[in-house]
Amino acid sequence: MLSRHLAHAMLKRLEVHARLMFQGYEPGKFYDEMFSSAGEVRTSCSDVLEKFEKMTDDEFERRRAACDEHFLRQGVTFTVYHDDRGTERIFPFDPVPRIIPADEWENLEAGLTQRIIALNLFLHDIYHDQQIVKDGVVPQYHIDGAKHYRPEFRGMDVPGDIYIHICGSDLIRGDDGQFYVLEDNGRCPSGASYLLENRNALKRAFPEIFSGSRVRPVDTYPTELRKMLHHVSPHREGDPVCVLLTPGCYNSAYFEHCYLAREMGIEIVEGRDLVVVDDFVYMRTTKGLVRVDVIYRRIDDDFIDPTVFRKDSVLGVPGLMRAYRAGNVALANAVGTGVADDKVIYRFVPDMIRYYLSQEPILPNVPTYLASEDEDRKFMLDHLPELVVKAANESGGYGMLMGPTATKAELEEFRKRIEADPRNYIGQPVVSLSRCPTSCDGMMAGRHVDLRPYIIYGSEVKIVPGGLTRVALREGSLVVNSSQGGGSKDTWVLRD
């Protein structure tokens, strides 16, 4: 009796070991980043896949756990919003990389470069003559209605004439294999530290998958960031003093702030470390005041100077806007860039590219309906169950309606919201994001992913080959945000 059980168990174990990791993987009806169809591996992915298949499940699992432990020990954590105790969690990491072949990347790079140039020209225009409005390309009321538009800064020249220095554009790939820009994050895009740390963790835990893989390195990001900060310094003499301004250690991205500051070799400061005297910004050090030339700020506009914006903010620096207007300090990103990543303005980015650059957009937008336009609104209300509805000024997956999975009550709720405040809502068709094999409960299963590359605009446009691939770990889910159960993957851009 006993021996038969034992034999059965042993047989089962043999089966488990004999099964290859990706055997039976089902790409489904979506675009799959690794498989062109069931059993057919894309050529760019075959090497790495073979290397994974040489590992036993146990070994894979053990190394995956080592990655998690690495993140925990290093304190690579984020703080959960709306939690008074400031609970820290690690961002789940999946070891199967997302692979982008050289020619695809080349196209993405060209499209993103075109886009950030147009966005910066747009911001310059909006804060000066508003030619694009006069020429009837973007209606005035959309500009005025954008929550993050700062009309009080019209007429001001910013250092280097750069507004968005760091852009984190979210890209998704549809069933057709085409990349679309889903949104441009031009205020305080975060996540770059995960791009770097994911690569470190994967290299440490799975070194052999890198051999002969032709993966382009990403570790130049902090250097490029520092170069850009130096470039925008308003003072030419000497080495500019750059600082990273953090809201403080309770912010969800605090780890990233520390990480980037350390990697760049610049000080990480809080508002109370800075003081403005005679329209110059200084930091308080134990050796006295030291002048600051460039601030890489990770605080929202509203909080950055209590004498101008929110009066009760203790996170900001009183008088900072005076120094900024006087041209004595550069801010990255500039104040008021939020008008460009407003989800309504987003709809006009392809038009901006045509208007300012006389070029056709390389990367398309996702088709977008504006509830403020009568025709669009009618379409949205008629097709609510098929659409994704988003609030114009929310991010992180908040304030969103997923039509196909929404309950009747949720649909009704959004119908009311759209009718009450049409300027604040847009609608888009559901794009079924591409999927990538992801380790789930010891099995490889397809999970939806997006891609956020980081674009740096200094003396030239630099995009580190890679980005943050976020993955919706829940089966079938299209929401990749870390606040909503998302994880991440290392992103490989291959050399030719």
């Binding site: 008074d84 975060s190 309770y250 912010n251 308080r284 050090t285 991010s395």
Partner: protein, 337 residues
């Protein structure tokens, strides 16, 4: 170095030192109670402890029913900002703010100390086996100091960390000595009491090797105030404080460049040339009181000189009074796209 960073390093170490001292004090007092507390005299022994830490008022506000919750109040009650758990949490909070300045292992140690005082295991220890709790805690703080000393560059950061440690220690030593003031005289003058004070400072063996004979008030006071070779005496602490301050400013010892150095120098000379007779003439309690305000003044001047920088600013920044949690809420609110 950023003033805030200096401030955080200083407070990080101060809070750990505070937790360590508190643990010693409670542990020793509990043992004393085993000998003397059987006849309902708990109050006689616990009240001086919370009086000496300065939290008597808060205690009775939170526990109007009496002294039954003292140990909880001093160890794991987060409503008491000076409880062991609160001190460790604040120390770790300060460490988090200067995470980029600390060695990996130092951060891990303070983090695990924090996880320990918040764990169910430590709560169980407090219920059933307090000696284990205190010994784990003491090991943790020793480990913290050891790693700090073994991995920190001897630069400005280290000077501010030492400053925090010795200011806190000097303050706590004076408070230990002052416990007698709150005790009934028949016990305050017993050698049992003075032995327990020496134990709280980990000083009994050191004392015996220098001073044979009975342990009494004057002997212990002289030892803990003036004995320059004992690392918890006030004189030793102030020698270190004075040295740290001059290392930070780069001026030679014996002179001064700012009021922190001037005040510290004055205390050093008082502790070098003062005598036990002068102390007793003045009264031990009055003398300690004066010493404590001297220590506070040095701390205040360090803050003004290196953190607030009033000399270079016409006005101090208008930081409005808000609670810590409101600030934390704002920090969390900052959207990171």
């Amino acid at each position: 170095m950023l003033s805030r960073v200096a401030n955080s390093l200083y407070w990080m170490v101060r809070y750990i030192e505070r937790a360590d001292n508190l643990a010693r004090l409670i542990e020793v007092n509990e043992r004393v109670l085993l000998d003397f507390g059987s006849d309902g005299r708990e109050e006689t022994f616990w009240r001086p402890i919370i009086a000496s830490t300065g939290d008597e008022e808060l205690y009775f506000e939170l526990n109007p029913e009496g002294l039954g919750s003292v140990v909880h109040f001093l160890t794991s009650d987060r409503r008491n900002p000076n409880s062991i758990a609160s001190c460790i949490a604040q120390g770790r909070e300060n460490a988090r703010m200067v995470r980029d300045q600390l060695s990996e292992s130092l951060w891990e140690e303070i983090n695990s100390l924090y996880l320990f005082v918040n764990s169910d295991a430590s709560q169980r220890m407090l219920q059933s086996n307090r000696a284990d709790y205190f010994s784990a805690l003491r090991r943790g703080t020793f480990c913290f100091h050891g790693i700090a000393s073994g991995t920190t560059l001897r630069g400005e950061a280290w000077a501010f960390m030492e400053l925090g440690r010795y200011l806190e220690r000097a303050d706590k030593t004076t408070r230990f000595l002052d416990v007698a003031h709150f005790l009934p005289p028949e016990y305050a003058d017993s050698s049992d009491h003075w032995i327990s004070i020496l134990k709280s400072c980990g000083a009994l063996d050191a004392y015996r090797s220098l001073k044979p004979g009975p342990v009494d008030r004057s002997g212990v006071a002289e030892f803990l105030l003036f004995e320059k070779s004992f690392p918890r005496s006030v004189a030793y602490c102030f020698d270190r404080i004075d040295e740290c301050l001059h290392r930070i400013s780069g001026t030679p010892r014996g002179g001064y460049e700012n009021s922190a150095e001037r005040l510290a120098g004055k205390l050093v000379s008082e502790l070098s040339y003062g005598t036990l007779e002068e102390v007793m003439e003045k009264g031990l309690h009055a003398y300690l009181d004066q010493l404590q305000s001297g220590i506070n003044d040095v701390g205040g001047e360090v803050f003004d000189t290196y953190v607030l920088l009033p000399d270079q600013l016409e006005t101090t920044p208008a930081v409005e009074v808000t609670t810590v949690s409101a600030v934390a809420a704002w920090q969390m609110e900052q959207e990171q796209q």
